[in-house]
Symmetry: C2
Subunit: 354 residues, 2 copies
C-alpha cells in the first residue's frame, strides 16, 4: 500500500527534514506528494484536504510540529516551548472536529514536559522521532482493530463503508478497512460497497481506489443508493471510522454517516465504528458537544473546481460531519477490543470506572 | 415559469409540427430547446434525460406519438394504428419505471379506438390536440395538488424535497413543489431544502434553479446532510414526487427517496408524496413489482461527461429509482385529495371498492 505520509529526517549537514504528504486532492488520477519543509505547509495540507482522515491528520500534526520544532532557535526549553505553541495552535485551529490533532499535540507537549531537563536539541530529536513513532503505532493499532473486527465479518459478507477510513486516512491499513483487510487475509470472501460520499467524494476517489489497488472487491454507489441496497438485503454489515467519539459513545464522522446508521438500524444491520483510542475524546461527554466544521459552499456546488453543478449564488449548508448517537452504534471497535458504545467510558485512562 | 415542453402545430402548407423540449441536461447553465420534428428525437430526449420527471415524459410521449402520427401515410385507421404502434413501443421502452408514458400511450390508444370511424386525418388532428390537452390538464392537476398540500404546510415551515418534482418535471407548477408554491401564494413563509440528488443532480441543477427563478427561498445540501438536518430539528416536512405508485401505496421514486423516508420516520417528520393519478398504477399490486431502471455507471463515475470522480474500471451499481414502502408514507397528495397510502386503491377507476 502506498504511503499516506512520510517523515524524511534531516541531520547534520543533510538537507532539512521534510514531511512528504500524498496529495489526496489529486486522487485517483495522480499520485503525487507535497514536500513540506515548513510546518505551515502541513497546516495548509490539512486545511485543504490534501491529507484527511482523523488518524492521518494526527500524524501530520505530530510531524508538522516536529518540522516547526526543528526550525526554532531557543536557548532554553521554556522559550522553545513557548515558541512551539504558535505552531501547535495553528494545527489545533486547522480542523475542529477530529480530536486526533489535539491528541497528537498533547502527546508532544507531555513529551516536552517529561524531558524538560534535557537540552533543546535533544528534545527536538525526540519530537522528530515521536512523529514516526505515532505513525508506526497507528499501523499496529489498525491491525489490532482488524483482528477485533474480522471476527464480525462472515465469509461471503458484503460490507458497506462510508467516506474513507482506509489506509489513506491513517498511517496505513485503515480503521474501518482493517477488519475487511484482516478478514480477507484470513481467507474470507468480502465485498465492499463504497458510498461515494459527497461532497468531497472520499468514497469514490479514495476508498474505491485504495481497495482496487489491493485487489479487494469493491462496488461504488451514490450515497442515495445505500437505503435501497439495505432494503433488498444486499448489505450484511456497515463499518465506518470516526473523527471524534464522545465519552457516551456518540460518534462524529463524515456527513452522511448518521443516515447510514439510521438505515442500518431500520434494517437490523449491524453498524460498527472503528475507533482507535486516539479518536475517542473522554473529555467530551456527548456528541452534541463536539464542534462540527462547516466548510465552504463551493465544495457542494463545484466538483474539483472544474464542474459547476448548481445555479450561481445558491445558498448551501455544508457541514462536514454529523453525529451518530450511541443508540445506533452496535459496537465500537478499538485496539483494546470491541465495546458497546455505553461501555467505552471504561477505556478512559483518567476514568474512575476503569 | 419557463416552459418544459411545447407543441408547435403545423398545418396545411405550414412547416411540420414540432415538439420543443427544454434541454435539462444543460441546466442550470444554459437555457436551450431541442427542436424535435421526428418522434425518434423525442424518444432520445427521454432516454438521455433532456426531459425527465414522470408527468413531463408522459406529456413528451403523447406529443412524440402525435409527431409519429403526423408522419404516417395510411389509407385506413387499422393500418394507421398498426404503424403507430411501432412509435408507441419505442416510447414504452424508453424508460421503464415511470408509468406516465404507458398512461399517455393508453390514452391515445383509447382515443383512436373511440374515433376509429373517423378519417385518419381527423384522428391525427385529435392526437395532436391530445398532447396539448394532456399538458394543460397536467398544470391544472398540479395546482389541485397544490391546494390539497398547502394545508399541510404551516407558516415558517422548512420543507425538504428530493430530486426535482417541480415545474421542470411536469407541464408546469410541479407536483412536489405545488403545495410549496400554493402555500407561498397564500402568504406563508416557506424555506425549501433541496437534496442535490446524486448521481444526476436534479436537485442542484433543476430544483434549486427553478425555485430561485421564482424567488422561492431554497438551500442546497448534499444528500448526505438530510439526516443531520432532521436530527437537529431543522426539517418540518418532506414532499417528494413519484415515478410510479403501486396500488398498495408503495412509491417508486428517484434513488435516495427511500432513505429520506426512513430518516423522516425516525424523526417523526411527515413524509408526503405528491402523485397525480397518472402516476398511480392500479395494475401493479406492490412496489417490488415495479420495474427499476438501471442506468450506465458513467452517471456515477463522471459528472457531466467532464469530471471523472472515480478510478477507471470501478464497478458501479446505478439503480435510478428505489421503492419506499407504504408504511413510510404519511399521505399521498393527489388532485382528488390527500389519501393515506392504504386508501389509494379506492381511486382505482376500475376498482370495485371505489
Amino acid at each position: 500500500m502506498i504511503d499516506t505520509i512520510k517523515w524524511i529526517g534531516g541531520s547534520g549537514n543533510a538537507p532539512a527534514s521534510q514531511v512528504m504528504i500524498l496529495d489526496q486532492r489529486l486522487l485517483p488520477h495522480t499520485v503525487s506528494y507535497v514536500e513540506c519543509t515548513d510546518y505551515r505547509q502541513v497546516v495548509d495540507c490539512i486545511k485543504t484536504l490534501a491529507i484527511r482522515g482523523a488518524p492521518a491528520i494526527g500524524i501530520a500534526a505530530a510531524m508538522g510540529i516536529a518540522l516547526a520544532a526543528s526550525a526554532i532557535s531557543a536557548s532554553d526549553v521554556k522559550e522553545f516551548s513557548s515558541r512551539l505553541s504558535t505552531a501547535i495552535d495553528d494545527f489545533l485551529n486547522s480542523r475542529p472536529t477530529a480530536v486526533n490533532i489535539q491528541w497528537a499535540a498533547e502527546r508532544i507537549e507531555r513529551l516536552i514536559e517529561t524531558n524538560k531537563h534535557l537540552p533543546v536539541s535533544a528534545i527536538k530529536d525526540m519530537i522528530a522521532k515521536e512523529g514516526v513513532i505515532i505513525l508506526n503505532e497507528d499501523i499496529e493499532i489498525n491491525k489490532a482493530i482488524g483482528r477485533v473486527g474480522a471476527d464480525l465479518i462472515k465469509d461471503g459478507a458484503t460490507v458497506l463503508t462510508h467516506c474513507n477510513a482506509g489506509a489513506l486516512a491513517t498511517g496505513g491499513y485503515g480503521t474501518a478497512t482493517a477488519p475487511i483487510r484482516t478478514a480477507i487475509a484470513q481467507g474470507k470472501r468480502v465485498l465492499v460497497i463504497a458510498d461515494e460520499t459527497r461532497p468531497i467524494l472520499q468514497g469514490a476517489r479514495l476508498t474505491a481506489w485504495e481497495l482496487m489497488q489491493d485487489n479487494i472487491p469493491v462496488t461504488l454507489i451514490a450515497d442515495n443508493a445505500a437505503g435501497e441496497l439495505m432494503r433488498r438485503g444486499e448489505i450484511d454489515l456497515c463499518i465506518v471510522g470516526t473523527d471524534r467519539t464522545a465519552k457516551n459513545g456518540d460518534v462524529a464522522n463524515k456527513i452522511g454517516t448518521y443516515s447510514v446508521a439510521v438505515l442500518a438500524k431500520e434494517h437490523n444491520i449491524p453498524f460498527y465504528v472503528a475507533a482507535p483510542l486516539s479518536s475517542i475524546d473522554f473529555k467530551i461527554e456527548r456528541g452534541d458537544d463536539i464542534p462540527i466544521e462547516e466548510r465552504p459552499s463551493h465544495e457542494v456546488t463545484n466538483v474539483f473546481g472544474r464542474c459547476e453543478i448548481a445555479p450561481k449564488g445558491v445558498k448551501v449548508i455544508n457541514r462536514a460531519f454529523d453525529i451518530t448517537p450511541a443508540k445506533y452504534v452496535t459496537l465500537i471497535l478499538t485496539e483494546k477490543g470491541a465495546f458497546r458504545p455505553e461501555d467505552i467510558h471504561k477505556l478512559d485512562p483518567k476514568g474512575k470506572t476503569q
